[in-house]
């Protein structure tokens, strides 16, 4: 694990056509990486939202960098629908892989275990399943017969990107009880983390901190980004800036408004 990396250099780790896993809005979204990814301009990205997407995915879609989205939902929460996503759906300019929350987790968990797929309940008879030719249904091989179950293939993203409160100098990252961040890192080939701060101590020093620590084994690069989830909040650190999310929702209603928002906020980004 190298020393910390500046944000634009982290973004240069992303190549066109990569599959990128991004966390749900409350779990630690690295908004600090969003402008850097847009400046980097690596396109044809396949996004995996774990398990739902919001502002970051919407901005990457608006910037024209996204080829497909696998997600169980796309929303700005109280600020309403995701405007660039909704436009892209209407125009047919992105491939949709509509999913359901536990199916995303199931796919990542399969990759975490090095298994080819996971089996799950639910889904039978839904249009979600009908539109996923990459999933399949088999009869429970351990049952007396019948009992259809859905198999979802492993999701092994090229890169997982998230934001956390702290890392130590050895590259360990404290994720607390946001265990989906660990699942993303276990499943992905590489993991890029931005952190509020890097501490001098060792996150494994006490059992209390170690229990919430993602080992450096799964972390490939770390950047320092104070308030790096803004305008999203970060658990235990700061709340979401709902006013800014509403401002984005209003601005991004049109392509021109989105471009203006991007120019204005990008100028202030690292």
């Amino acid at each position: 694990m190298p020393a910390t990396t500046d944000i634009p250099s982290l973004a240069r780790l992303i190549e066109p056509g990569m599959q990128i896993a991004l966390p749900v809005d409350y779990a630690g979204v690295s908004m600090a990486m969003t402008h850097a990814l847009i400046a980097r301009g690596a396109g044809d990205l396949d996004l995996v939202c774990v398990p739902t997407g919001g502002l970051q995915a919407d901005m990457l879609i608006g910037a024209g960098l996204v080829r497909s989205v696998e997600t169980s939902a796309m929303t700005l929460g109280e600020a309403g629908g995701a405007p660039c996503f909704n436009r892209a759906v209407r125009d047919g300019s992105i491939i949709l892989r509509d999913s359901t929350c536990p199916a995303i987790h199931a796919g990542l968990t399969a990759a975490q275990k090095g298994a080819p797929f996971s089996a799950m309940r639910g889904l039978i008879g839904t249009d979600v399943l009908r539109h996923r030719p990459d999933w399949c249904v088999i009869d429970n091989p351990f049952g007396p017969g019948g009992d259809p179950v859905v198999l979802v293939p492993a999701i092994q993203p090229d890169v997982a990107i998230f934001h956390a409160a702290m890392a130590d100098r050895a590259g360990n990252v404290w994720i607390g009880r946001r265990r989906e961040l660990a699942t993303m890192a276990y499943a992905a080939r590489r993991t890029i983390v931005t952190a509020e701060r890097v501490i001098d101590g060792d996150l494994f020093e006490t059992e209390i901190m170690a229990a919430g620590t993602l080992p450096a084994l799964y972390v490939d690069a770390i950047g320092i980004a104070p308030k790096g989830a803004w305008p999203y909040g970060l658990w235990g650190e700061y709340p979401a800036d709902t006013g800014e999310l509403l401002r984005y929702a209003g601005s991004a209603k049109t392509d021109a408004g989105f471009a203006a928002y991007l120019a204005e906020t990008g100028a202030a980004a690292p």
């Binding site: 169980s72 929460g77 949709l96 987790h105 639910g122 249009d127 979600v128 265990r179 658990w235």
Partner: protein
């Protein structure tokens, strides 16, 4: 004390629908269901009844999960969650729910956020309460354009859960999986059967003169306006403040 507002009657109705549950989970952006679950917990405590666990997504204080966002689904899959709430952009007379959009998928004319966990939770949570405050024929349709989650499943499909009731701003319906279909149980104060029939795009069963939804009694209202509003304001500060304003004695 001021009489109950329509929203207070909805919250109280939700607490009633949850009677007997041990663990209820509430999804994101659901202040009225969250308030109903908190009211149930407060009422059980006041009565000295066994504790009700509630898991409010988006809350820090009223959420005891420590295994990330997957824990809700793992918990539900094992039958550890007795009740949950779903809404829908469209809900039809067979209890099918559409959270994806209007028109032909994938290029839907109107796109909603997506199915979230509905395509799973509807199958495995025994008491799913469908809740949508607005009640219009565009929402309550004869047939949904996209099935995020089906109201019923054919025999042989694993199904330990499904719709229990449908609550809207106009009335309360029970779901009968054997028909399948809804039956109007009660009409909220200030509304009538003709209004509900006009606002509903599917046929439903009902008595000739359906009952009225009972409003909360004074003790329930006091819990709701006191402890429940306090608890709710952590996750839904704007909504809690609005409820407070509606019922403030000097308003």
């Amino acid at each position: 004390m001021k009489p109950a507002t329509p929203r207070e009657t909805l919250i109280t109705t939700i607490a009633r629908l949850l009677g007997g549950v041990h663990h209820v989970a509430v999804g994101a952006s659901s202040p009225i269901p969250a308030a109903g679950a908190m009211l149930l917990r407060a009422m059980k405590e006041a009565a000295g009844a066994p504790r009700v666990r509630i898991s409010i997504l988006g809350s820090v204080k009223h959420n005891f999960f420590t295994n990330g966002s997957v824990e809700l689904f793992d918990c539900a899959g094992q039958g550890r969650i007795d009740a949950f709430f779903l809404s829908g952009g469209q809900i039809d007379g067979q209890g099918n729910v559409n959270l994806v959009g209007v028109g032909d998928y994938p290029q839907t004319k109107v796109r909603w956020p997506g199915s979230f966990g509905a395509a799973y939770l509807y199958f495995v949570v025994p008491r799913v309460i469908l809740f949508r405050e607005d009640h219009t024929p565009r929402i309550f349709v004869d047939k949904v354009d996209f099935v995020s989650a089906p109201g019923t499943s054919p025999e042989g499909v694993y199904r330990s859960g499904g719709p229990h009731a449908l609550l809207t701003g106009l009335g309360l319906f029970d779901f009968d999986a054997s028909r399948p279909g809804f039956r109007l149980r009660s009409i909220h104060p200030g509304h009538d059967l003709a209004e509900i029939t006009d606002a509903t795009g599917f046929a439903f069963a009902h008595d000739a003169a359906p009952a009225a939804t009972p409003p909360p009694d004074a003790a329930t209202l006091a819990l709701l306006r006191g402890r429940v509003l306090d608890e709710l304001s952590e996750t839904y500060p704007d909504f809690a403040a609005q409820l407070q304003r509606e019922t403030s004695e000097d308003a």
